[in-house]
């Protein structure tokens, strides 16, 4: 016996969640692309191809106001953001590479400083993961310890079935609670035939060995070879489900304004520019090396996790074709 939900009921579930005051974020069509965005109704839900940007925005938005201020007759008034007012959220349709990323980022956001903006959103969000059924030559989740059917990070995990509908697996407590709220939308089916999962190509790489190799090759020709071509944009970091660097800026006038937390990227030359004018990462290949090291060494050193879920977005949208999967394989071949 397997728990299933029809396509129609899934959309009804989204509609009912929205009606009950839950913010539902899911893949939505926007022109030629799909983006994870708040849905206004179930009909907008567009599962299928990997959305252009990752689902990290549900927890860590591109730009968020962390406080606002206004000068009035009674002096300066500062308004903190009430994190208790964050909506209850369901992230639906996150593919395994997107669903697994928040668990990785939790470590850094709850380390020495507890980032309440991120953590509060995490506490209030239920993730409905989707099994992945199509991969291209940029996908490499299998190289970083995930797979198209990995339930890591999901609270509820849906697998598309041949002939429509989904089989449904409860992974976390929150998934069970969600299910309990709308039991009539789910049914028990005797036999189910899942759509075959995607099969991303690529030679498996031993990440522990990659890390060891990186430890010994901080200075190596490979960085110039693969990253001299880097032009220093933030496309890779901004599309990445696990990149989490941000910058804080004050905007507005002296009368009224906001303090905002915006995404930042280690590829930007300003990222490490000191006030003195000195820049320890003075050329682009060093900036790219940092990105790679952070994902496969530093983050592991600190938190025991790999900061990459193999979604392949940085490969597909790199203006100059820098290929993190290729680099991993190349390093794998050098042990």
């Amino acid at each position: 016996m397997a728990l299933t939900i029809t396509e129609e009921n899934l959309r009804t579930l989204i509609d009912r969640l929205i009606k009950d005051g839950t913010r539902v974020i899911g893949p939505k069509r926007a022109g030629e692309m799909t983006i994870y965005e708040p849905l206004s109704r179930g009909a907008e839900f567009a599962p299928g191809p990997l959305p252009r940007r990752s689902a990290k925005e549900a927890f860590f938005p591109l730009s968020e106001t962390i406080l606002s201020f206004e000068k009035g007759k009674d002096g300066l008034k500062v308004d903190d953001v009430d994190t208790n007012a964050f909506p209850r959220t369901v992230l639906v349709g996150a593919l395994p590479c997107d669903a697994a990323a928040p668990q990785v980022m939790d470590a850094v956001f709850s380390w020495d400083y507890k980032d309440e903006f991120y953590l509060e959103r995490r506490r209030r969000t239920t993730i409905i993961g989707f099994s992945c059924t199509s991969a291209d030559d940029s996908c490499f989740c299998t190289l970083v310890g995930l797979s198209p059917t990995a339930t890591k990070g999901s609270d509820l995990f849906l697998t598309p079935l041949v002939g429509g509908g989904y089989s449904c697996q409860v992974v976390g407590d929150r998934g069970g609670e969600l299910l309990a709220g709308y039991p009539e939308l789910f049914t028990e089916s005797a036999t189910v035939t899942p759509v075959p999962p995607a099969e991303p190509e690529g030679t498996p790489v031993d990440l522990a060995k990659v890390k060891l190799w990186l430890e010994e090759h901080f200075e190596d020709e490979i960085w110039e070879e693969v990253a001299d071509r880097c032009v220093g944009c933030g496309a890779c970091a901004f599309l990445c489900p696990a990149c989490h660097c941000f910058d804080i800026v004050d905007e507005g006038t002296e009368q009224k304004g906001s303090r905002r937390k915006n995404w930042d990227a280690c590829a930007f030359s300003k990222f490490t520019n000191h006030a003195s004018g000195h820049n320890p990462r003075d050329v682009q290949n060093k900036r790219y090396r940092n990105r790679f090291m952070h994902k496969f060494k530093y983050y592991d050193d600190k938190f025991g996790k790999t900061l990459c879920t193999g979604c392949g977005r940085c490969i597909r949208y790199c203006p100059v074709g820098i290929d993190i999967k290729g680099i991993l394989e190349e390093i794998g071949s050098r042990f």
Partner: protein
Amino acid sequence: MNKSSEKTKSTVTIDTSGYEVATQEIRSEAKRLLTEKIVDAVVGYQGGRRGGSAVPVVITDPDQAEKLVFSAACVNNLSIYLTKAKKEIRAKGKLAVVAKGCDLRALAGLMGESQFKREEVVIIGVTCAGVHRAGTQPGQPLTDSTIAKKCRECSVHIPEGSDLIVGKLPPLPNLSPTEKELMEKLDAMTPALRWEFWKEQFTRCIRCLACRQVCPFCYCEQCLCDRGRPQAVDTSPRPSGNMGWHIVRAMHLAGRCAGCAECERVCPMDIPLNLLNRKMAEELKELYHYEAGLKPVEKGPLTSYDEKDDQSFIK
């Protein structure tokens, strides 16, 4: 998983057999230039891991010349590597660069702006029938539906003025000028509707700045839009700052942009940025009969003036 640019109904295929010839000629020329020490490095394209893909590469060893390729996947404008935005490449010494016709126009513009002198660079010009549009899965044939928008209206298939021109031009099909058609539609709109259009486009912008970083003309060491004090444009990726950023970008490229459309190609959010550049180019042509990138000229249209310039808009 990429955006579905490969519409199956396409029938017009562009003959790219000339690219094989070009590849061979680029290799032997690069080898010669490096062996005879005429240049210290060659900026070209090499094949990537993904089947049929091509990525920029800088080679310094004559033996590496065999890596160089030219194909429909060679979309990058390599002139970026000759600007001061990429000092580490220039530090390698005298450079040779592989350039398509459209890239050559950027090189001409850069020379006009004294970024380098003609004799400092060896230009290997490639006869080009067109390259892939953004999001094309590498390895696809070059067809009506996989060709870049700029190539549909290309007027510089042969890079005149290069030190060596390689490859040969196949017979070219007539392709509909999609960008021109889109431009006409936008021009016909009311300003309010155009505002809605651009607002929608810019709202998607995530300020990854790929458009800036990939642009040969955005070589400023300090971008006005990165500055905090005074802050010209909000740096937050929000609709207001995005609108400011794209207006400033278009203005700063007016009269300089030669239309390589790299900004539009690299935009991960598919914003049709070249429409802005194209509009500015059209206006400059109409107002001051100036076209960017035709030859190195010292003064662009916005760094020079004529006492008889139109001033009908000034009271």
